[in-house]
Point group: C2
Chain length 506, copies 2
Amino acid sequence: MFEAAELGRKISREDFDALAPGLRTDLLALQQQLRQADFPVIILFAGVDGAGKNETVNLINEWMDPRWIETRAYGQPSDEERERPLFWRFWRDLPPKGKIGLFLSSWYHDPLIERVEGRLSVAELDEALTPILRFEKTLADEGALVLKFWMHLSQPAQKKRLKSLEKDPLTAWQVTEDDWKHYEQYDKFIAAAERIIMRTSKGHAQWRIVEGVDGRYRSAVVLQTLKEAIGAHLAARGVARKVVAELREETRDNGAAVTAVLPQQPSILSSLDMNRTLDPDTYAQALQEQRARLARLYRAAIEARLSTVLVFEGWDAAGKGGTIRRLTNALNARDYQVIPIAAPTEEERAQHYLWRFWRHLARAGRVTVFDRSWYGRVLVERVEGFCSAEAWQRAYAEINDFEQQLTGHGIVLCKFWLHITAQEQLTRFTARGEIDYKKWKLTEEDWRNREKWPLYEQAVNDMVERTSTRGAPWTLVEANSKPYARVKVMQTVADALESALFKRKK
Amino acid sequence: MFEAAELGRKISREDFDALAPGLRTDLLALQQQLRQADFPVIILFAGVDGAGKNETVNLINEWMDPRWIETRAYGQPSDEERERPLFWRFWRDLPPKGKIGLFLSSWYHDPLIERVEGRLSVAELDEALTPILRFEKTLADEGALVLKFWMHLSQPAQKKRLKSLEKDPLTAWQVTEDDWKHYEQYDKFIAAAERIIMRTSKGHAQWRIVEGVDGRYRSAVVLQTLKEAIGAHLAARGVARKVVAELREETRDNGAAVTAVLPQQPSILSSLDMNRTLDPDTYAQALQEQRARLARLYRAAIEARLSTVLVFEGWDAAGKGGTIRRLTNALNARDYQVIPIAAPTEEERAQHYLWRFWRHLARAGRVTVFDRSWYGRVLVERVEGFCSAEAWQRAYAEINDFEQQLTGHGIVLCKFWLHITAQEQLTRFTARGEIDYKKWKLTEEDWRNREKWPLYEQAVNDMVERTSTRGAPWTLVEANSKPYARVKVMQTVADALESALFKRKK
């Protein structure tokens, strides 16, 4: 879930200085409109200590008109507060319509920390999230715009950041013992955060994960998100529709400045080392080894009635078919099924979009390979506009939920994105066109999809960010070299199986 | 919650025979339209054993075209099913678009029974409801119409029904040992049911509670609900809008036949014995006794830091003010506050509608009396159209949640509906008009509200059905006699306080 927020995204001082004045003007203009609006804006910051929560809140107060902003941070409840129900203090502090409320260490703080420190079980954490879900839902139902930012740092980045804060006498006071305690518990902290974000990211109150290493990048992302979300909410509520439209017209140039800088940021795919390869001898040996290993593990899995579901997604011509064949070669034909996912059948179209995946779940001990999958909704259907934005946005939660039911039932689930570069795809397309018996594989559609490469790249990035979880992680496979890709996939499956079998035995 | 389903509602054979043909024709016509629609209808039946779940499912199959209906009932999962995640069997059985699926003993069955038999704690029950909520949400999000019926019987009615089924050789097989076991556990069963219904009644998948004693009444309610819900969903999805409109035109007479019979059914208010009264001597003595008792209990409550929230609702001129004054006479002025709820202030209008009630929650040990309350949303705001239907419908869940936070914090919560008959109100209005110093109390609005008596009565009935819970029950007060009403209120508060203090001590 946090992979895409550990890429080292940053913005140079020059770029930031170029976009800042326009963005700030827009935000001030929107804030003026907001004062007449019939809803409040509730913005919540949480995340890794040192990832810039306080700095961002300060910046918002600096850039916008602070008379219409209320900032609230919470510590231990007072006597007054303890004598009332838990949420009284948050209700009391809600901003009225037309104002912005910034919340630090608020309603997610206690459940997160108590889970990290082991005072809550996972089930109790979920229980503690229930009133939060209701709280945010009732606020949104009454019209509030609810924005939640998770400011993220990797563990090494957190260490560096805390050290640098400590060194500067002006900021040393910011670093508390608790911060270092949380740093020591980084893994637990992230595991709890992942569950919280997965459970509480709703259409009406979405989490946005922001990489917190670079102050300028983080500020630009948060402020740009604010601008877009407030503008869209004003427009959706029919408030000052005209003014918002005019503002958009005016500020198109400013917007362009920001949006020109932000997408240049590395995506999760650009962080892959695409030069990885295997020489023929190593490949032959590794293939044989992994095949033997898989065959052995699968016999054990069938005996243990341990099922496996494998998901393959990737660019056209990334080699999904060949990889799947190498893998299934290690298995007995009766024990696996490859499900190619193309356009749904008539029967499938008459059902919920997940129904056709549910129906293919195999009996205990079997392997089900999905050649393309339920991720079609957030990839091709999103990019091609085959479903509404509302539908693919809510699909992340539906998919997480579906996969949680699989893994919760003890099924081993591996998900692969086979990645090739645009150049490599072109080479493969051209080669296909030249080989007679492969010509049929190349269609007009392949060329059309190729033109939408950046849109697909964005969709893949979002998919990994929203659906790569501890229980069901994505494996990104560097597939410019087919041998390398095949071995990596087989090895990943074998590792997953081995660890699941080991857990069963315990 | 189930009070309104224990009133002995029934329909005579003649009335039923008069409405049946029209209703049946409408349902068949709607079913034809449904076949072209882009959504399935998912109807779930649950409830007390013997309340007519099976009979209703049979009747639907008999009245409508069974080729477009799929009925599913679940027992112990098969091997096949056990090898897949829990919800696999429900996904597998979902009706396709255009069809109706009837579900018996389905996804609510196990959580309910496991809670009744003590294998799930309350927290674990909530945990088990989470995947159900998600399941229904994703179905509804994709367009499905989800209807849930809770068929209810009181415990004596259940006994009678099971005995009568057993006596008839044709139906004796229907009564299982489990049925009698559930009968023995009736209280636990109802407590679990209440929690489930409260937690899972959502706008997109509402529970409808149906009194199950009389077969004709129960059938008419379910079938009429089906007709209205399918018609509305077809219209809302823009399917066959014209045909639905025509159908409505055609079937107006049939509709009228049903709707003429159903509202004649007793409401929860009509079940009150409005002749209750107290003679002056008894009243004087009881008043003094309860006052002394309250004063004593309140001193103990202040010491124990036990807070109380009292809610007063009722018809105009039902005597709320006088009752509240008698009650607060027993208290020390510094320990209580009476909050009269009229139109919201400017500051309050700028906030969520519940905010103004949250802000009035007092410190530990205090008494807060709400003269009118948050129930305004489902009473006056509903009837007068001051808020959208969507808003007051979702308010039941919001209110239950709010009150759960109060009682969960240990606050004693009593809710009173002061009921007078329309005749008594007229007498009081007229008397007010004749006494100079009371004239100001009588406004044009009072007369206008009076004209909407049946609408308010329906709203009160729904309010009690949806918000009278074990943790926060409504007390309906027969208030034609002011002395009787005052004593009943004081006694109820004293009893609640006594039992809360007793629990604290333990």
